[in-house]
C-alpha cells in the first residue's frame, strides 16, 4: 500500500500547492516541501528490508485480460533512484523558493514540479512495464510544462516543444518495445521479464524490441543523435534544469538501461548500439561543452557527456561496468545538481550567465565560489572527490574491455580524450567565472545570495566530499544494493578505495588532468578554430528542416485532398466506394448468381417497377425543374411503399407512406424559399463523367443485390418469431422487436430524432430568407392562401385522423402500426391544419409547442426502461399482462406500450417542430425585392 501512496503523494501535492499559493507567495513551496518530506518519511521504514536484500512488490489487478496490473516494486536500484528523486527534489524546492522572483507564479511552478516528481517516482517504482510507460510519458508531459514555465519566452516554448517531440516520440517507440517484450515473455511484470533474459535474447523479435526500447532510452537520455533537445531545454528556470538534468528526466533513460540490463544486455547488438551511442555522446558533449560561453550551456553539454559515459558503461556489458554505471549515476546527480544551482546563483546575483562577461567573481561571492569549485572539481574527476572514484572505475573498465579485442586500445584512448575535455571545461567553469580578471559590464553588482539559497548546494557538495574521501562509510551500502538491483545478481568484487596502486587507470587520470590543463591554457586558438569549423554545425537546424518538411508535406497532402468543395468530396467518396466495391467483386472467385430460386415475375410488379424506374430517371433528367422533379420523386416513394406492401412488410409500408407525406410537405416548404430552377452550370464532360460514375455505382448495387438475392441465407428470425408472443406479449413481431427486443436501439434512435429536431430549430432561429410570391413568369402563386373548402374539410378531418392514429397506436403491438406510424399520422393531421387554416388560426387552437413533447417522450421511454430496475431486472426488460376493461373487454397491456408512447410523442414533437418552424419562416421572410440586407 505504501508504495502506491508514495507515488500518489506528489500528484496529490500538485493541486494542493497550486491552491495554497492563493494565500501567500511562499505557501506553495512549504506545501511541496512538506509533501516531499512526508514521502521520504514513508520511504524510510521500507529501507532496512531493501538494504537487507529484499524486493518489495505491491500489486493490484487492474485490467487482468490485458496483462495490466497496478504494481510497484522496490528493490536496490529503484530505492536508489527514489532517494535521489526525493532528496534532490527537496533541495530543489528549497532552492527554487529563493530563485523565483515575485513576478513568477509560485503555485504553478510547484504544481508542475510535484507532477514531475510523481511521474519520476512512478517510472522508477513500477513493477508493471505498461504502467511504467504511462509514467514515462507523464514525465515527458510534465517536463514540457516545466521547461516552458516562462511561457512568455519564445526560446522556452521552442525548447519545450522540441523536448516533448523528441522524448514523447521516443516514449511511443518505447511503448512498442515494451509490448513486444511482454509478447516475448508472456508477462509485463518486471520480475518475469528480468528472469527471462535468455529467452528474450534468443527470440527472433529481440532486435526490433531492443531497437524500440533503445529509441526510448536514447531520446530520454539525450544520446546522440537525439542529444540536441537537451541544450535547448536550458531555457527552463535553473531549478528545473538542476532537477531535470541531474537526478531525474535524463536519468530516466539510463535508469531503464540499468533496469532492463539483465533482460536485454549481453548481445553483440546491445554492445554495439549502446556503447556506440554512449561513446559518441561522451565525446561530442565533452568537446562542445568547452566552447559554450553560456554557463548553463556548458553544464548542458557536460551533462550530455556524462550521460554518454553512463550509457557507454552499460553498453560494455560487464558486471563491473554496470556497477560503475550505477555509481556514476549517483555521483553525477550530486555534483551536477550543485553545479546547476551554483550557476543559477551566479545568474541570479550577477544578472548574466555569459562567461565572457563573468570574470573574477571570487571577491564578490567567495562562499559560492568555493562550493562551485569543489563541485566542478568533482565533475573533472579530481582525487578526493566522488567523480574521481567512478571515473577511475570507468577507465579501468575500458582497459579491461580493451584487452578482449584487437583494436581495443582505441576505447581507453577515446575515454582519456573525453577526460581531457572534461578537465578543460571544468577548469573553464572555475577559472573563467571566479578569476580571470574583472567582470565585464555586468547588469548588477554581484554579491552572496541569501543564506538558505546556498544550503542545498552545501549539502550536495558535502556529499561529494564525503563520498570522495570516505566511500566505504558513506555510499558503499547503497551502491552495493543498487548494483545488486541492476544486475539482479550479486555484483563482483570491487574496491572503493582511493588508492589502488599504480594502475593503468591512474595513469589515464593523470594524463587527462595534465592535458586538460594544457588544453585550457591553449584555449584561445582552439576557440577560434572551433568558431570557424564545427561550431557552425547545428543539429537543431536539421531538426527544424525535417520538421518543416514534414509539416509542409502534410499540409500539401491535405490541400490536395480537401479543397473545401463538397462536390469534389462527394465525387471522391463515391469514387472510393466504387473502387472498393470493384476490388471486392474482382477479388472473389464465387459466381455472381447463387442457387436460390426466386419468386416468379408478375405483370403488376413489372409495371410498378417500370413506373419506379421511369420516375427515378425522370427525377434525374429533369432535376433542374425542381417542382417537376419533386412530383416525380413522390412517385418513386409511392412505388417503394407498394413494394413493402407486396413483400410482406405492412409496417414498413405504413411508415413509408406517412413519411412520404411529411417529406413532401418539407420539400415543398423548402422549395418555397429556394430558386425554382437549377442553373445549367455543369459542362457536358462533367455530366458524362458523373453519369459514368453513377452507372458504375448503380451497376455495382444491382450486381450486389442480385448476388445476395439469389443466395440462400441463415437468419436469426426464429428466435424473434418464437419469443414474440410468450416473451414480448405482442403478435406484431416487427413492433415487438422495436419496443422490446431491441428497445435500447429504439431509445437511441428517438434521441437522434429529437436532437435533429432541436438542431433544425436552432438553425432556423433568426433565419431570414427572401420570399417569392410569384413564379418566374410573374404569375402570383395563389391569391387565396387558405381556400374555405380545404379549411373546412381539414377541420372535419382532424378528429378522424387523430382517432385513426390512436387506433394505429393501440393495435401496434399485435397488428401493423405502433408509435412511429401513429406519431407520423398525428403529425400529418396537425400539419394539415397549419396548411389549410394558417399559422395564426391553428396556433390559437392547438398548443403547438413541440419541445415539451420531445422531452416528455424521451422521459417516458427512459423511465419505462428504468422501471424494470425497480423489480431487479436489467434496463428495458418488459412485462405484460391481460386486463379486463368494462365495455371494451379483454385487453392486453404490455409495459412496452408505455415505451411506444414515448416513441409516439418524440415522433410527433420532432416532426411538428421541423415543419411548423419551417413554415413560420414565411412570417419573418424578406419580401423578394425589398430593402435591407439578406441576413
Amino acid at each position: 500500500m505504501s508504495l502506491l501512496t508514495l507515488v500518489l503523494l506528489p500528484f496529490l501535492a500538485a493541486p494542493v500547492a497550486a491552491w495554497g499559493s492563493r494565500f501567500g507567495r511562499l505557501h506553495a513551496a512549504w506545501i511541496a516541501g512538506a509533501f516531499t518530506a512526508l514521502a521520504l518519511a514513508l520511504l524510510a521504514p521500507l529501507l532496512p528490508p531493501v538494504f537487507g536484500g529484499e524486493t518489495l512488490v505491491h500489486s493490484w489487478a487492474w485490467i487482468p485480460s490485458l496483462g495490466v496490473t497496478l504494481a510497484f516494486r522496490l528493490d536496490g536500484l529503484s530505492m536508489m533512484f527514489a532517494l535521489l528523486i526525493l532528496v534532490i527534489g527537496l533541495l530543489i524546492i528549497l532552492y527554487a523558493r529563493y530563485y523565483l522572483n515575485p513576478r513568477d507564479c509560485m503555485g504553478r511552478f510547484y504544481a508542475y514540479l510535484m507532477l514531475f516528481m510523481g511521474s519520476m517516482l512512478g517510472v522508477v517504482l513500477s513493477e508493471n512495464l505498461i504502467q511504467m510507460v504511462v509514467f514515462w510519458e507523464l514525465t515527458s508531459l510534465s517536463s514540457f510544462l516545466l521547461i516552458s514555465y516562462w511561457q512568455h519566452r519564445a526560446e522556452g516554448r521552442q525548447g519545450a516543444r522540441m523536448a516533448l517531440a523528441i522524448t514523447g516520440g521516443g516514449g511511443l517507440a518505447l511503448f512498442g518495445g515494451v509490448i513486444l517484450l511482454g509478447h516475448i515473455v508472456g508477462s509485463y511484470q518486471l520480475s518475469d521479464v528480468l528472469a527471462a533474459g535468455d529467452i528474450i535474447r534468443a527470440h527472433p523479435l529481440y532486435l526490433p524490441t531492443l531497437l524500440l526500447i533503445l529509441l526510448g532510452v536514447f531520446t530520454k537520455s539525450a544520446q546522440f543523435p537525439f542529444h540536441f533537445w537537451l541544450p535547448h531545454a536550458m531555457a527552463a528556470p535553473t531549478p528545473v534544469s538542476a532537477y531535470l538534468h541531474s537526478a531525474t528526466m535524463v536519468k530516466a533513460g539510463v535508469f531503464l538501461l540499468a533496469r532492463l540490463y539483465p533482460a536485454l544486455s549481453g548481445s553483440t547488438e546491445w554492445f554495439m548500439l549502446v556503447s556506440g551511442a554512449g561513446l559518441a555522446t561522451l565525446l561530442l558533449g565533452a568537446y562542445t561543452a568547452l566552447f559554450k560561453h553560456d554557463l548553463k550551456g556548458l553544464l548542458a553539454y557536460s551533462t550530455l557527456s556524462h550521460l554518454g559515459l553512463i550509457t557507454l558503461l552499460f553498453g560494455l556489458s560487464t558486471p563491473l561496468a554496470a556497477v560503475a554505471g550505477v555509481f556514476h549515476i549517483i555521483n553525477h546527480a550530486t555534483f551536477k545538481a550543485s553545479l546547476f544551482m551554483a550557476a543559477g546563483i551566479i545568474d541570479h546575483e550577477a544578472g548574466t550567465r555569459d562567461m565572457r562577461r563573468l570574470n573574477g567573481l571570487w571577491k564578490y561571492m567567495p562562499h559560492t565560489a568555493l562550493l562551485a569549485m569543489v563541485a566542478a572539481a568533482a565533475m573533472a574527476g579530481v582525487p578526493l572527490l566522488n567523480g574521481f572514484l567512478s571515473k577511475e572505475m570507468f577507465f579501468a573498465e575500458t582497459v579491461h574491455v580493451a584487452q578482449l579485442t584487437a583494436v581495443g586500445w582505441l576505447l581507453p584512448a577515446l575515454a582519456t580524450l573525453a577526460g581531457v575535455f572534461s578537465v578543460a571545461y571544468s577548469l573553464r567553469f572555475i577559472h573563467d567565472v571566479f578569476f580571470n580578471g574583472e567582470p565585464v559590464d555586468l547588469p548588477k553588482t554581484p554579491h552572496e545570495p541569501p543564506r538558505w539559497m546556498k544550503v542545498p548546494v552545501e549539502v550536495l557538495v558535502a556529499l561529494c566530499l564525503m563520498v570522495g574521501m570516505l566511500p566505504a562509510f558513506t555510499v558503499a551500502p547503497l551502491l552495493a544494493v543498487a548494483a545488486t538491483g541492476a544486475l539482479q545478481a550479486t555484483p563482483p568484487q570491487y574496491s572503493l578505495a582511493l588508492w589502488h596502486g599504480f594502475t593503468p587507470e591512474l595513469g589515464m587520470s593523470a594524463v587527462a588532468l595534465t592535458l586538460g590543463i594544457l588544453v585550457y591554457i591553449g584555449r584561445k586558438p582552439l576557440f577560434a578554430l572551433h568558431e570557424r569549423t564545427v561550431g557552425r554545425l547545428d543539429a537543431r537546424a536539421v531538426y527544424n528542416a525535417l520538421q518543416g518538411a514534414l509539416l509542409h508535406a502534410n499540409s500539401a497532402l491535405i490541400a490536395r485532398i480537401e479543397t473545401g468543395s463538397l462536390q469534389r468530396m462527394a465525387l471522391l467518396t463515391v469514387l472510393v466506394a466504387v473502387a472498393a466495391g470493384t476490388v471486392g467483386f474482382l477479388g472473389s472467385n464465387a459466381p455472381l448468381t447463387g442457387t436460390r430460386a426466386g419468386l416468379p415475375l408478375d405483370a403488376v410488379s413489372l409495371l410498378a417497377a417500370l413506373a419506379l424506374i421511369a420516375a427515378a430517371l425522370g427525377t434525374a433528367a429533369l432535376h433542374r425543374q425542381r417542382l417537376v422533379a419533386l412530383v416525380l420523386i413522390g412517385v418513386v416513394g409511392l412505388v417503394v411503399s407498394l413494394a413493402f406492401v407486396k413483400f410482406s412488410a405492412p409496417d414498413l409500408a405504413l411508415t413509408q407512406l406517412s413519411v412520404e407525406v411529411v417529406t413532401l410537405v418539407l420539400l415543398l416548404l423548402a422549395l418555397h424559399y429556394l430558386p425554382q430552377h437549377s442553373p445549367p452550370e455543369s459542362s457536358n464532360a462533367r455530366r458524362l463523367r458523373d453519369m459514368a460514375l453513377a452507372l458504375a455505382a448503380g451497376g455495382g448495387a444491382a450486381a450486389l443485390t442480385w448476388a445476395v438475392l439469389t443466395r440462400p441465407y441463415e437468419h436469426i428470425a426464429g428466435y424473434f418469431l418464437e419469443n414474440s408472443v410468450p416473451g414480448g406479449g405482442g403478435h406484431n413481431v416487427v413492433n415487438v422487436i422495436l419496443v422490446d427486443f431491441r428497445g435500447f436501439d429504439t431509445l437511441g434512435e428517438i434521441t437522434v430524432l429529437g436532437l435533429a429536431g432541436l438542431g433544425i430549430y436552432a438553425l432556423l432561429k433568426g433565419l431570414r430568407l427572401p420570399l417569392r410570391r410569384a413564379d418566374e413568369r410573374g404569375v402570383d402563386w395563389s391569391s387565396d392562401a387558405h381556400p374555405p373548402i380545404m379549411a373546412t374539410l381539414s377541420r372535419l378531418l382532424l378528429p378522424l385522423a387523430l382517432l385513426v392514429s390512436v387506433y394505429i397506436f393501440l393495435r401496434g403491438h399485435n397488428m401493423p402500426g405502433g408509435g412511429f406510424i401513429a406519431g407520423l399520422i398525428t403529425a400529418v393531421a396537425l400539419i394539415l391544419q397549419y396548411l389549410a387554416n394558417g399559422i395564426d388560426w391553428t396556433r390559437g387552437r392547438v398548443p403547438a409547442n413541440a419541445h415539451p413533447l420531445i422531452g416528455s417522450g424521451l422521459l417516458i421511454a427512459t423511465l419505462t426502461g428504468l422501471g424494470s430496475w425497480v423489480f431487479g431486472y436489467p434496463f428495458l426488460t418488459s412485462t405484460h399482462g391481460h386486463l379486463h376493461w368494462p365495455l371494451i373487454g379483454e385487453f392486453e397491456l404490455a409495459s412496452a406500450m408505455a415505451f411506444d408512447l414515448g416513441v409516439y410523442l418524440v415522433v410527433v414533437g420532432a416532426t411538428l417542430l421541423i415543419l411548423i418552424h419551417l413554415g413560420k419562416l414565411s412570417r419573418t421572410a424578406l419580401p423578394h425585392s425589398a430593402e435591407g440586407s439578406r441576413d
Binding site: I613, S648, P675, E776
Partner: protein, 126 residues
C-alpha cells in the same frame, strides 16, 4: 422478380449518385432521398423477398418472413426523414448566409431570387 428488384435498386442508386454530384443544394437533397430509398430497400431485401408472409403471429399463418430487417428499416426510414429535414434546413441557412444555393458555398454568382433582390436594392439606392 429478383432481377427486377436488382435493376430497380441499381437505377435508384445510379440516379441518386448522379444527383448527389450536382452543384446545387436541392438536387443533392433529391439525390440523397433516392439513395436512401435504394439503401432501405436493399437492407429490407436482406431478409429476401417473400409474398404473403407478414411477420404477424397467427395460428393460420403459412409462415413468416424475417422481421429483423423490417424493424431496422422502419427506424431507418424515420431517421432518414430527420436527416433530409436537417440537410434541407442547412441548405436554407446556407442560402441565407451566402446568397446562393451552391453546395460549395462559393459565392460564384447569385441565384435568380437573390439576384432580383440585389437588383431591387440597387434600384432603391439609386
Amino acid at each position: 422478380m429478383d432481377a427486377l428488384l436488382s435493376i430497380a435498386i441499381g437505377v435508384l442508386t445510379a440516379t441518386g449518385v448522379y444527383l448527389t454530384l450536382r452543384g446545387r443544394t436541392f438536387p443533392v437533397v433529391l439525390g440523397l432521398t433516392l439513395l436512401s430509398y435504394a439503401v432501405n430497400v436493399f437492407l429490407f431485401l436482406m431478409g429476401r423477398a417473400s409474398v404473403g408472409l407478414p411477420p404477424l403471429i397467427a395460428p393460420e399463418a403459412a409462415g413468416y418472413t424475417d422481421p429483423l430487417p423490417q424493424a431496422l428499416v422502419l427506424t431507418a426510414i424515420v431517421i432518414g426523414f430527420a436527416m433530409t429535414a436537417f440537410v434541407v434546413v442547412l441548405a436554407l441557412r446556407a442560402r441565407a448566409e451566402l446568397g446562393n444555393d451552391h453546395v460549395d458555398g462559393l459565392n460564384t454568382g447569385l441565384d435568380e431570387t437573390a439576384e432580383r433582390q440585389h437588383k431591387g436594392e440597387r434600384e432603391d439606392r439609386a
